[in-house]
């Protein structure tokens, strides 16, 4: 795909409904199997995030993708019921494999249902397909990569956990952009203009290399990955193993010192 093409990060409700009708798109529901079995968006297949995460080696992912009837040309739309974070992690994994046409449903399944839109409990018949592997290492950050690049002037490291967790401990040099900041009341991502203004205020713009991370498996930061792409930022990476791995490796950690901010929380 050419660099020019604006990346489509989300699919709106109306487009998805017509794509479902003409069966042109593969819809992936990443909720748990029980939830999927009760009801889901018509034609959707189920790939619970936990299933994917149990082994997200490209070879295994390829098998899963083939079994879902996805080849290089199949448009894919992913949804969840967790403000888009789980869906983002699955979408990113497909992208990493080399799939170029994957996007997120602009809203969650609950919202879809509350709008009275169609849903059923039928599991579609799938014909297996053959997808190729063209890994995209340019969207992945490993801990080694992060360690060597995070202090470069052109690199912005973003922590997407909640503010108090960030204050308590974070990767040195990271800035805080909690995942809640990215959404609106009804959409998993803010409108483009809104998002752009917010990121511009934070000086997250231009051709910086941007790396996102969150607590453990790259879900919240996966959502941030798509938020950043939605405004056309060209060079975004996901540190997919995130803070859990970083801490486990006993790498340096920074903290906001000398303040008892936790005591302001009413939780």
């Amino acid at each position: 795909m050419s660099q020019e093409k604006t990346v489509k990060t989300t699919t709106d409700i109306d487009s998805l409904r017509s794509e479902i009708r003409d069966k042109s798109t593969r819809v992936i529901d990443v909720r748990r199997e029980e939830d999927y079995k009760q009801s889901h968006i018509p034609t959707a297949v189920n790939l619970p995030l936990a299933n994917l995460l149990s082994d997200d080696n490209p070879e295994r992912v390829l098998k899963l993708v083939n079994a879902m009837g996805i080849d290089d040309e199949t448009p894919v739309v992913v949804y969840d019921d967790t403000f888009g974070a789980l869906a983002s992690r699955v979408a990113w994994t497909l992208e990493y494999l080399g799939h170029s046409d994957v996007s997120l449903l602009e809203t969650t399944f609950s919202k879809w249902k509350s709008l009275g839109l169609e849903n059923d409990n039928k599991t579609p018949e799938i014909q297996s397909k053959n997808h190729s592997i063209h890994l995209k290492p340019e969207i992945l950050a490993t801990s080694d990569y992060l360690e060597t690049s995070k202090d470069k002037p052109n690199v912005i490291l973003i922590d997407n956990r909640e503010r108090l967790n960030y204050l308590e401990q974070h990767i040195p040099g990271a800035i805080s952009l909690p995942y809640r900041t990215l959404a609106t009341q009804d959409k998993i991502l803010r409108p483009k203009e809104d998002m752009k203004r917010l990121l511009d205020n934070r000086r997250i713009s231009g051709n910086s290399e941007i790396i996102t991370y969150c607590g453990s498996v790259g879900t919240l930061s996966g959502l941030a990955y798509y938020a950043l792409k939605s405004v056309g930022l060209p060079n975004v990476k996901l540190y997919v193993r995130s803070f859990k791995e970083w801490k486990g490796l006993e790498k340096p950690i920074a903290k906001q010192q000398d303040a008892s901010y936790w005591d302001l929380s009413a939780e």
Binding site: S114, R202, D258, A259, S260, E267
Partner: protein
């Protein structure tokens, strides 16, 4: 996602009467932060600008701000709460803070995000403009104004009109220092002698017609050095309210100390000049203001009363049983209004903190239970829901219980105040905020909220001498400092007793220094001494009043006797004996004092 759905199902909820916001200010703030970051704005002018727009710096860092949202007269509408809940989740810590001056504060906000909060606030007509800095701060009004059985008339419209007149008014853009107005309902509820301008509504009979007016108190205030205000004149008719306010501000603007930051509140001016001289000056200045206003300047008082409409019951739960704790809650959290069959219900928080989920839930509860359709912030980091019908109280209690907002003791000593302290304030020496929470938990555990003898007493805690926690007017007040044993430090509090802010306003008398980790046992000990020595219908407040004024005839005759009885609590153990003694609440490392640049005067 459910929030926007809910909103649509309440089409006729009341709308705020005044839009306090200006959207341009959000854009301007964003641009100014950019210029500041590019070095095109010097530190001092930027700080002044930031404070003027309601954003304080934060403990040990100016990369974070505390955004103070003003609620003029304390009024807050459900859709405004929903917006604040969202903003708190998106840009703050997922909790918000109800302050003692009817502001809602969002902490640990990234400076670059403040403009987004201002933008969000402007969508619901709220502002943080002039919430900090040298300006007319939020104009307060008693949460009971309009419903208090003892009031002469409702002062809310006057508070709102005063707030509207001074907001963005050139007269109040660069005062020597901050300036506070408090309106109240009656002598008992409110704090009119401990503020720059305090007002109690009153009426007089003028040849058969009833004339409205105010009792105005000037020159009081709490702080490093506190003063009790003086009454200007017997009766100030309502037409003179604005002229008086302008006159006082003009004098302060002209004569206030602009150099010495520690002494530039108006109370110092009054004190230095002497009350009579100041009083004459105000009366003279008022005559000039009255005569020279080319166009008649009037307060735009909107007398339209709120529409009282009992919300329609959505579901009938009359068969369901009333949960435990209802009687206790009813006794300690509700007041009968002057309107028969209606009640004001107080929601007590822990040191004013509330989660964003609770704020959203509260919005729904207001719509379902308050017949006036909005809520009022209280004076003690709490919230009042008014016009709740007798028949709805038990259902309301059940609802509050499900969202963790049914804590009892709201109107009792079991609802202590704690300023922000080391959770966010640059000047803090101790974690006063957490201490207030700990005391509350202990009081509720011991069911002291139900003790009628303690009901009208109060506990208030500041994290340093600056008195944001209003310790000076508490029955038992504390301000933080550090104690020392050799090289080791421990968190310590100066305790004062017998302060009050009602008709007999006085500042608490200094009693003893109490280590942080001994504060709770000391309070319990004081209660024990009181119980042993009280007269049959004494309250702690009455008893303490006699003790600190040397008028008590039991075994405890003076504050010195209390001091003696507490000596044993103040002796530091060694670090080996009790390492916990050397840490403050909310911290497990050993205590040390650390402060940054304060912005209270900026």
């Amino acid at each position: 996602m459910t929030v926007s759905d809910l909103k649509q199902s309440y089409p006729d909820s009341p709308k705020p009467k005044i839009n306090w916001a200006r959207i341009e200010e959000a854009e301007d703030f964003a641009n100014t932060v950019k210029l500041f970051r590019q070095g095109k704005y010097d530190e001092d002018s930027f700080r002044r600008y930031r404070l003027q727009h309601g954003a304080y710096g934060t403990r040990m860092t100016n990369d974070y701000a505390m955004v103070r949202i003003k609620l003029p007269a304390g009024e807050i509408y459900p859709h405004q709460l929903e917006k604040i809940s969202q903003l708190s989740e998106q840009f703050s810590i997922g909790s918000a803070h109800f302050s003692t001056r009817e502001n809602i504060q969002l902490h640990w906000v990234i400076l670059e995000d403040v403009s987004e909060i201002l933008r969000g606030l402007s969508e619901v007509g709220l502002t943080s403009r002039e919430a900090c800095g040298n300006s007319v701060r939020n104009v307060m009004c008693s949460p009971l104004s309009g419903v208090c059985p003892d009031e002469e008339f409702d002062s809310t419209p006057y508070a709102l009109a005063t707030a509207r007149f001074f907001l963005r008014n050139p007269l109040s853009q660069s005062l020597p220092r901050k300036f506070k107005f408090n309106f109240t309902c009656c002598e008992k509820h409110g704090m009119v002698r401990m503020v720059d301008v305090g007002l109690i509504p009153q009426t007089r009979d003028l040849d058969g017609t009833i004339q409205k007016g105010f009792k105005i108190f000037l020159g009081g205030g709490l702080g490093n050095k506190s003063f009790v205000g003086y009454q200007l004149e017997e009766f100030t008719p309502e037409e003179d309210l604005l002229y008086t306010s302008i006159a006082v501000l003009r004098i302060f603007d002209r004569l206030g100390d602009r150099k010495n930051m520690a002494r530039n509140r108006m109370r110092y001016l009054v004190n230095d000049m002497g009350w009579e001289k100041f009083q004459n000056l105000v009366l003279k200045e008022r005559a000039i203001v009255r005569a020279t206003q080319s166009v008649v300047t009037r307060l735009e008082v909107d007398p339209t009363p709120s529409i009282i409409k009992r919300p329609i019951r959505i579901s009938d739960e009359s068969g369901s049983s009333i949960p435990d704790g209802y009687a206790r809650w009813l006794k300690t959290n509700t007041l009968k209004q002057k309107q028969s069959e209606y009640n004001s219900v107080f929601i007590t928080l822990e040191a004013g903190d509330i989660t964003s989920n609770q704020i959203t839930a509260l919005a729904t509860i207001i719509r379902e239970f308050s017949s006036e359709g909005y809520a009022r912030a209280g004076f003690v980091q709490n919230i009042a829901l008014r016009y709740v019908h007798d028949d709805d109280l038990s259902r309301l209690y059940s609802k509050l219980l499900t969202v963790g907002l049914a804590k009892s003791g709201a109107l009792t000593m079991a609802a202590p105040i704690g300023c922000s302290g080391t959770t966010s304030c640059n000047l803090a020496l101790t974690n006063s905020h957490r201490l207030a929470k700990e005391i509350q938990r202990k009081f509720l555990e011991l069911k002291l909220d139900q003790d009628d003898d303690l009901r009208d007493s109060s506990i208030k805690i500041s994290g340093c001498p600056n008195a944001c926690g209003q310790h000076g007017i508490a029955t038992i007040g504390f301000f933080g400092g550090g104690g020392r044993v050799g090289k080791e430090m421990y968190p310590n509090y100066q305790m004062s007793l017998g302060g009050r802010s009602d008709g007999e306003t006085m500042l608490g008398a200094t009693c003893h220094r109490i280590p942080a980790k001994r504060v709770i046992p000391v309070i319990l000990k004081i209660i024990e001494l009181f119980k042993q020595n009280k007269k049959s219908d004494d309250t702690l407040k009455d008893w303490m009043h006699r003790v600190v004024n040397g008028k008590e005839d039991s075994e405890i005759k003076s504050i010195l006797d209390i001091r003696k009885a507490l000596d044993s609590f103040t002796i530091p153990p060694t670090k080996e004996e009790d390492p916990d003694f050397y840490t403050d609440y909310g911290s497990d490392s050993s205590y040390h004092t650390k402060t940054g640049k304060g912005e209270c005067a900026a």
